[in-house]
Symmetry: D2
Subunit: 342 residues, 4 copies
């Protein structure tokens, strides 16, 4: 049993995702849920009934910054800079919903504030703490995929139209974060096309092509208007291919020992490919809730002052890619070089 | 029983697809398989054993054009113009593998030759004769989908690298043909990105975005290097969505009575969508082989002089779209206006 | 808003299922979770943290019977009679885990006690309150299935070996209850075979055949040792067949418009069946949690004195069938007539 | 190239299965399809067009027994004894559709005739030559499953009602043959229940329980009236479980590294199982057509005089099991000891 007193954590935003964060903070032995802030009276009633010990507030102004060690911000992306900056300035550690911000400029501002004030700034890229993505990263690092060829993601369903941003910032942010974490690679250029919908101010469907080195590329398809839900990532190497199907009730990760081996010229005009078609393996996953792992990581980063996996600084490259995608989409799909300069 | 003598049909190309054509011609009561031409000695041996009554030839030069009424050309796309032109010039009706040609110029040449010589020129877009695509077209025409929003296709597997052309001309040709047939719409602009592979001279993966009117758009993903085979088309309207999964062993067509109904503003900052989630119906398909329907259509077009569904003239628009996609890909993905002028 | 004060409900047993009951009682506006009883200290700690307002007790003896209106008993089946009888004798309404008891004799005892003391005695057959089973019952009652032919259920997985009873009483109880509720029919005879396992005192696999009238029969397969989880019920009529797949993430209910129509004699020796293969429909389910519906039903039965759907009296027929199955299994599978006499 | 002249093979019965046999005989380099016999004029027309070199006969009487080396009998089971006996008596090798006969008596008669006349008598248990069943047998023999616990098969669909026999002889024959081949074990007792249908003289649904040693048992469910087709075999050992799903378009064999490890007594009244949940592997199958392998085995048995895998003698045990199942079903499901005496 720890003799250190638990971190006092406030939660700002008790909408769709906030309750999951609150539950995990409350269940952690190293943290207490000290306060919950939400603009909506009805959400505050629910929060109060679920977490009777937490202080329930109408606005951030009601929080005493000196009485909390850390804050989790689970509000729409457009509010992130404005909400997070005062906490960081006051030396409060911040875990913030993805995306960190809706522009490179705002994101850099928060990262620098955190640095100046010796705060942990972590972005809630929950997927990076999931069994499946950890398994993907381990498989890539083991070298058994061979040289990487292709990353492909489809993330579509009937989703909530975000009032303040497009499907790129809301959904493709997951794929870019996963892609970077699993492969350790950064795209050079992005080409994106987007499509809108009568009922939305922002694009609701997007298709993004990312070019890395000469031999590796990625494609990401996201949509808020697909009646069929798909959450499927494919990462192909010359030797093996991983498929992560997050909609599957089990066997979310499958590894195909298949690929294109070589080409033989046949008689006549056709070339012949020699395929390798091997076993398929669905490795057993560990069964740990991703958000639990993430909260643990946030806490231990604060305790140890070691940068967490999905730190604000690390997340800047993801913001840069999304910003380039948005720029390409505005230009009708022409390729845009990603600008990683801070 | 018909008193008209059967059409005498020659087949040029007895590779991967040719045997299917040969079998369906041989089984037709209105046609005889008079001759089979293939460059490869081993393929000629197989053809001879399967079709003992057909004349087996090494080259087209061995055919007597006067002794045949029609020819089916099932050879690589780059050979189409050169092979088909003499037949049309001699008044022989032509059914030709997709794509009709690898450029608008060549395609137009064949269409004009057919017109001048009063020949049927039909392109083997087999999908347009399949139970599933016919069902899709009927559902669209019935109006029950409502205004169309989005067409999406994924057509990927470990496929043969064509030596003479890219995956766009080989695979995306299906999606463009189906899209046009089912919706009756033509895209205004195309944006495409492609990717290559060590072992291929031509792109092996492509992602295409097609913009139609303001409210309708399409996305097509094709690949020859996916270890997992996917053949999935989704067509969404405001009322219903059709999903055609050609890899499914049954229930290839599924109709989702779901969609985005309207938006309500909620308290706080989030917008609320009102989804409609209804029944899913998998209509029973008829169970007729597509190629059988297509050969019947070819025969009756010749008999009746009525233009077939997938005539060469009709296919020109498909060629125009693919050509624009290729141009966009060469320019790194910038949007290209489709030029339909003949 | 109701002016009647909420029912004071105690929960006995806070193991695997108890917490679900507790949550639904606590969320009901018509009931308060007044007390939780569990033998295990660690379970009491968890209950206390989740339900701070409830009295947490080590044994039933610590409950004041006069201070509660109803009790939910979620303990192993072998304890039911002993635990429930004193509550009924004291006029406390009882909702009890399935099966009601492990013998007809014990079950009848509880039913009569409830009657004598004017108590509601309801059995927690949660499935009877699920969207899927309600939909099945509605489809049967609508007549669209035609005359019923066959009910088939497979309910297998790696399940907890119950220390006090066999897989028949633990799992097949669900199928018998559903079958009775959906069809309204009672089997005449049961034939069952069971199999044991090194680590279990009681059978872990069972296969049961139930004969109803001449034209309708059922088969139920249950197992605690299947590495693959299956929860699949099929109910066939002459016109349509319903399949309920409870493991499916969506489309749990599917209705097949298929069947055997008639027989034609063919030439030669084979008879020809004429199948009808029609559409498949997956109707949208309502999305209500079954246990919520059930708690509401329990509460309103108490308020209205109308017998609930899965009353103790109704459940006696289910017990009779399970008892016959056990008897048949002991006799190696020979058919046993079900004795419904009370 | 063989210098031995090919076997001259006659085929009796050109109905549902016969054409598959004919194609494989014709494609074999070691056999010629010398003759096809069918009662039906229309079937003879089809046979003649497909196999122009074969003699087409109306009845067996038209065959010259001296001009053929072997015969394949693909007719209804009730005709087997009468048809096969004269061939064996004349020294003609026989490959016969499953089941060998509809009674132990008839089956023994054929086996003894074959022995007396030095003929190969082989039963067409095609499954025993399939990639999947061979893989199952190899996995069992490798010992990695551990001690066997349970075999379970479901083989149901809308099937042709056989005019001369029940679903047990028509479908369960597959499962009994596979079970015996894969495990090498023989059941001691069988308990079966069957159900009939308005349109059939014989049972159309059956459920069979087979008891082997104390620790191993099997269950087989077969039906001709299920609108949903299932072909699923599960073989569980203490260490691993194999699932063979013959309806799956790929990954027909899946091996689960899961099971029940041991039991721990928990606090309170519940026992705790310790499950082992491991990886799932879908091994790549070889892609050889089963019937091709079987015809090759038949030919080499004739050439080598080595008994084939599914010889008539071997098949007697399968007949004994089916006969016991039928007897049990007639007695309403009571367990019947299998009589293997010849």
């Amino acid at each position: 049993v720890s003799t250190i007193s638990p971190l006092r954590v406030a939660l700002v935003g008790y909408g769709y995702w906030g309750p999951n964060v609150a539950r995990n903070v409350a269940q952690s032995e190293e943290a207490d849920l000290a306060a919950v802030v939400d603009l909506s009276p009805s959400r505050r009633v629910v929060a109060a009934s679920q977490f009777p010990k937490a202080k329930i507030c109408e606005s951030v102004a009601q929080l005493e910054f000196g009485a909390i060690d850390a804050v989790v911000i689970a509000t729409p992306a457009s509010s992130h800079v404005e909400l997070a900056a005062p906490f960081l300035a006051a030396g409060v550690h911040v875990l913030i919903e993805k995306p960190l911000a809706l522009s490179m400029k705002d994101a850099v501002k928060l990262v620098q504030l955190a640095k100046t004030n010796n705060c942990v700034l972590m972005v809630d890229h929950t997927y990076l703490f999931s069994d499946a993505v950890i398994m993907m990263a381990e498989l890539v690092r083991s070298g058994q995929l061979g040289d990487l060829i292709h990353f492909d993601s489809t993330r579509v369903n009937l989703g909530i139209f975000q009032p303040d941003t497009s499907v790129i910032w809301d959904l493709a942010v997951h794929d870019v974060a996963i892609l970077r974490y699993v492969t350790g690679l950064l795209p050079k250029t992005v080409s994106a096309t987007t499509h809108s919908h009568r009922e939305s101010k922002h694009p609701v469907v997007a298709s993004m092509s990312l070019q890395f080195s000469e031999d590796f590329f990625a494609h990401i398809a996201v949509s808020w208007i697909s009646p069929v839900k798909v959450r499927k990532l494919t990462l192909s190497g010359f030797n093996k291919t991983i498929v992560f199907d997050d909609v599957a009730s089990d066997e979310k990760i499958r590894v195909y020992d298949s690929g294109v081996d070589s080409i033989l010229m046949s008689e006549g005009r056709n070339a012949l490919l020699r395929y390798r078609l091997g076993d398929v393996i669905a490795p057993r996953l560990r069964g740990v809730e991703a958000l639990r792992r993430e909260i643990d990581c946030f806490v231990s980063s604060i305790r140890s002052a070691i940068e967490p996996i999905s730190s604000g600084a690390d997340s800047l490259a993801t913001i840069a890619v999304l910003q380039a995608a948005e720029k390409s989409a505005l230009a009708g799909g022409e390729p845009v070089k990603v600008d990683y300069t801070i």
